[in-house]
């Protein structure tokens, strides 16, 4: 009798690999978060206390901040979906002109750091000196500003510009997967095009719309850039800016942890609800083999649609590029950067004189390459384990992998600092700690992309390989990976782009030799050097653009959320 070998889930090598990935995940995530939890219960002398939570809960201004955070996140979540859905629909299903252009620009908004967008919008729509408001005044002769960016509405607006691309990606990939037959069926039953969209198309992508809302909501909840740069001047304080203030004198890191951990619970709850809702509906129609979608003729309506889409992407990406360049290249702001008003000085300064910019660009590129590659490998394996239920309790993998997304960066950095400055892993002072930080923070991006891609691959294809004699690992490598290559690659690009702009963890973890580009940018902001900030920001944007362009060429249409 032939002895039994291995378990049904896979052979020994495969099982070992899956476990290894899960253990790595647990260490990566649980280790720093564990330290955070610990810190929130610490009294500063190493003793246990609830004082941090009591202090957090008893101060009225934290409640006010929580309410503001909720207003901001909810508004941004809802508006993101309201902006992203027509945008995605127009690109995926209609004959609107310039669809390709709008799509590329929407991707550009994804890669534009919100920090730079916020600075650009202050320059554009500051109540007094904002260019748009000056223009408005000189044209109308009125006193008041057209739009005061330094307000709750302004903060929501700029945060929206940073967050809606998340919803856009998810909704557009869902729209592309809907079988046209479902729409045809509605048309033939006598429904008009508009009605079909309303009663068939929209309900079919409702899970994606919901997912888009959740993502945008969460992103807005933990965002620091716009709330700091626009929210503080608007005197609208949210949790992240309050947490940031706790890092000043007198430092209250315990209270900061105590304020952030509830955010983690909110997120867990939201992700859970989302999963329940999506699970019940099922993805069946959405992942079915898509026949070529029918293009909907918008008639004269395609022009207003085009203008709407154009305004969105100009506000979120185009203007940032133009404003930063003009601000960096003008001697006098407000006049065109041409002729006598043009200066290259700020670019020269940051490129050749600013030591941290040069070092930082180099380190950032190394880190982004490393983090993106490892995140995709790990995220891919974890998504595979989770989607295919290869291990008992595989459902927990998804939650764990998504957790870093929602801890405010600065607080997470403290957890990371605590985790990697003591045995067994002393990484502080090396690039490794930044690498681990980026890997942990952006694993969710790689995980999400991989999971979506793996979901769309029929398990039959893998089982066919197993029964043909391939082990679990061989099947993963020879069948699954080639089939989800596009999803993995778009995950790679996302992690790369996000690593290049990561600030909140880097600022606590960098040392002299490991300074990164985003820290250099922030430093320029903090010392009031906006022209140089604009110059370096613009250079960073250019690098991002080149990377995305390469990605676009390599991946073709399937880049970031689009199916081939």
């Amino acid at each position: 009798m032939t002895p039994l070998t291995g378990r049904a889930g896979g052979d020994f090598a495969a099982q070992a690999s899956w476990w290894l990935a899960v253990v790595l995940l647990a260490l990566l995530i649980a280790w720093p978060i564990g330290w955070l939890v610990l810190m929130s219960f610490e009294d500063g002398q190493g003793g246990f206390t609830l004082a941090n939570y009591i202090r957090a809960a008893s101060a009225q201004r934290y409640w006010d901040a929580a309410v503001n955070s909720l207003i901001l996140s909810t508004s941004v979540g809802v508006l993101s979906v309201l902006v992203a859905t027509p945008l995605a629909w127009a690109i995926a299903r209609t004959n609107m002109p310039g669809r390709r252009f709008i799509q590329v620009m929407a991707l550009a908004s994804l890669i534009t750091p919100g920090f730079l967008t916020a600075v650009a919008w202050i320059l554009l729509a500051g109540p007094n000196a904002g260019l748009l408001n000056q223009l408005f005044r000189s044209v109308t002769g009125l006193e008041g500003p057209l739009f005061n960016i330094l307000s709750m509405q302004g903060m929501i607006f700029v945060t929206l510009l940073e967050c809606f691309p998340f919803a856009f990606i998810i909704i557009s990939s869902a729209l592309q997967n809907i079988s046209a037959e479902l729409e045809d069926a509605a048309n033939i039953s006598g429904a008009s095009t508009a009605r079909t969209m309303w009663v068939i198309t929209l309900p079919l992508v409702r899970p994606a719309i919901l997912a888009g809302f959740v993502l945008a909501f969460l992103e807005a909840l933990v965002l620091f850039s716009s709330p700091a740069i626009i929210g503080v001047p608007a005197r609208t304080y949210v949790l992240t800016t309050q947490i940031w203030a706790l890092f000043q004198f007198p430092p209250q890191l315990g209270v900061a942890s105590a304020l952030s951990l509830p955010l983690l619970l909110v997120t867990m709850a939201l992700l859970f609800v989302q999963r329940r809702l999506l699970g019940r509906r099922g993805y069946v129609t959405v992942t079915g083999k898509a026949s070529a979608a029918r293009v909907i003729d918008l008639g004269w309506g395609r022009w207003p649609m085009f203008v709407f889409c154009l305004l969105v992407v100009i506000a979120s990406a185009g203007l940032t590029y133009v404003v930063l360049f003009s601000y960096a290249a003008s001697k006098v702001w407000g006049q065109l950067p041409i002729g006598a008003n043009f200066t290259f000085e700020n670019f020269r300064l940051v490129l050749f004189d600013l030591d941290s910019a040069q070092k930082g660009l180099k380190n950032s590129l190394i880190l982004a390459l490393g983090a993106a590659t490892v995140a995709v490998v790990l995220g891919g394996i974890l998504a595979y384990v989770s989607e295919r239920r290869l291990l008992r309790g595989a459902w927990a993998v998804g939650f764990l992998a998504m957790a870093p997304m929602v801890i405010p960066g600065i607080v997470f950095a403290v957890g990371l600092f605590s985790a990697y400055t003591r045995p067994p892993l002393i990484l502080y002072g090396t690039l490794w700690i930044l690498f681990v930080a980026y890997l942990t923070k952006f694993l969710p991006l790689a995980y999400m992309n991989s999971a979506t891609a793996i979901k769309s691959v029929s398990p039959d294809l893998e089982e066919a390989a197993r029964i043909s004699g391939a082990g679990g690992l061989t099947t993963f490598g020879r069948i699954t990976v080639p089939l989800v290559k596009q999803g993995l690659l778009s995950g790679w690009f996302l992690v790369f782009i996000y690593s290049l702009r990561e600030l909140s963890s880097s600022i606590l973890l960098f040392t002299n030799n490991t300074v990164v580009a985003s820290v250099a940018v922030y430093d320029l902001y903090e010392t009031g050097a906006w022209p140089q900030l604009s110059a370096l920001g613009f250079i960073l944007l250019l690098i991002n653009t080149v990377v995305v362009a390469v990605g676009y060429v390599v991946l073709g249409k399937s880049f970031v959320g689009e199916r081939p």
């Binding site: 052979d11 089982e463 066919a464 043909s468 004699g469």
Partner: protein
């Protein structure tokens, strides 16, 4: 080649028991069909045999090897089986040649051996000229042939087929049934064929296993199943749609107070409810004026619906006790709705079931 033996195979999930105590002996070289409606447990059984699902209880043996038992389960890649999937599961990123060669490469055959065997397999399934194509460039039938070639190239001990033809159109499906049977006869591999289509099971299988609600209802040759269904479920599933309530009195089935002779109905021990099963096309229909000469087993009734199907006329006839009988009659036999008719149920066609 090997026999496959299932002993008390059971699968339980929280809140569901898709397969219960399935025991089955599949002889070496036999082609057996697992037939049943969707959700009957046939696919779960097949996937346990393949090793994709670990059974909750029971044992699976291939030849004298236990591949799944209380000591653990052998992973699919070590079971020396091949499988054909409903979705073909042809790998879209590999050419036809590479698809077929995959298993051989996994077995570390030399490149020349691989080439030789793949070429032969492609020849057998008439795909030789398409070796360099990708699956997306093939028709559904051709993809199915690739799947077949891939499964057979590996020289498996056991071939598993999971609804292999249900994605094909009707004409192709008929052709492929014979193709599968032809290949089975040529290679003689022990095969387990899952289907919900009784015609497919009848044409291809040596023996048919009818399953329902996770249990085996009947195992037998196609003739056995067709002519001698063991249970009401089997009877109705294989087309004996008329199940008429009756009771037994002195060897006769009593329906609407009329005693009907039923072949083989000798046992009188049953007190429980009985049904008389008969196929619609075996019932003879006569107009009221043309009462049949053979007056055994005739029942009066009233036509409530009729429809013309080209090669037959389909009638629903209400008996006087209110039971409805479906009759498939010759096209020439015309009776209009509301007309009184005679039905004759030939004793040889009647089957009594508990």
């Amino acid at each position: 080649m090997a026999s496959v033996t299932l002993t008390d195979l059971t699968k339980e999930f929280p809140g569901a028991k898709p397969v219960t105590d399935v025991s089955l002996d599949i002889r070496d070289g036999e082609l057996i069909a697992l037939l049943g409606p969707s959700g009957c447990g046939k696919t779960t059984t097949l996937r346990m045999i393949a090793g994709f699902i670990p059974p909750t209880r029971g044992e699976i043996r291939v030849g004298d090897r236990v591949v799944s038992g209380k000591d653990g389960v052998v992973p699919p890649e070590h079971r020396r089986m091949s499988m054909i999937f409903q979705s073909y599961a042809v790998w879209p990123h590999m050419t036809v040649f590479d698809n077929v060669a995959f298993g051989l490469k996994m077995r570390k055959l030399s490149a020349s051996d691989v080439k030789q065997r793949v070429d032969r397999m492609l020849d057998i399934v008439h795909l030789k000229t398409l070796a360099a194509r990708y699956p997306a460039e093939l028709s559904g039938g051709q993809q199915q042939r690739v799947a077949l070639a891939r499964a057979l190239a590996n020289e498996p001990e056991t071939l598993l087929l999971d609804e292999p033809l249900s994605n094909l159109d009707a004409n192709l499906r008929e052709e492929m049934r014979f193709e599968i049977r032809r290949l089975h006869d040529e290679f003689g591999i022990t095969s387990i064929y899952v289907t919900h289509d009784q015609a497919e099971a009848m044409v291809t299988a040596d023996r048919v296993v009818v399953m329902n609600a996770g249990r085996i209802e009947q195992v037998g040759s196609p003739e056995d199943i067709y002519d001698r269904p063991a249970t009401r479920f089997v009877a109705s599933f294989i087309g004996m749609n008329n199940l008429l309530d009756c009771r037994l009195a002195s060897g006769k089935a009593i329906i609407a107070d009329t005693p009907l002779a039923v072949e083989g109905a000798t046992q009188t021990n049953t007190n429980g409810s009985l049904v008389l099963a008969i196929r619609p096309h075996e019932i003879e229909l006569y107009s009221q004026t043309a009462r049949p000469s053979d007056t055994t087993n005739i029942l009066p009734g009233t036509v409530t619906r009729q429809s013309f199907l080209g090669d037959a006329r389909d009638y629903l006839v209400d008996l006087i006790n209110g039971q409805t009988v479906r009759v498939s009659a010759r096209p020439a036999m015309r009776a209009s709705v509301g007309e009184s008719v005679w039905l004759r149920l030939p004793p040889a066609s009647c089957k009594l079931l508990e």
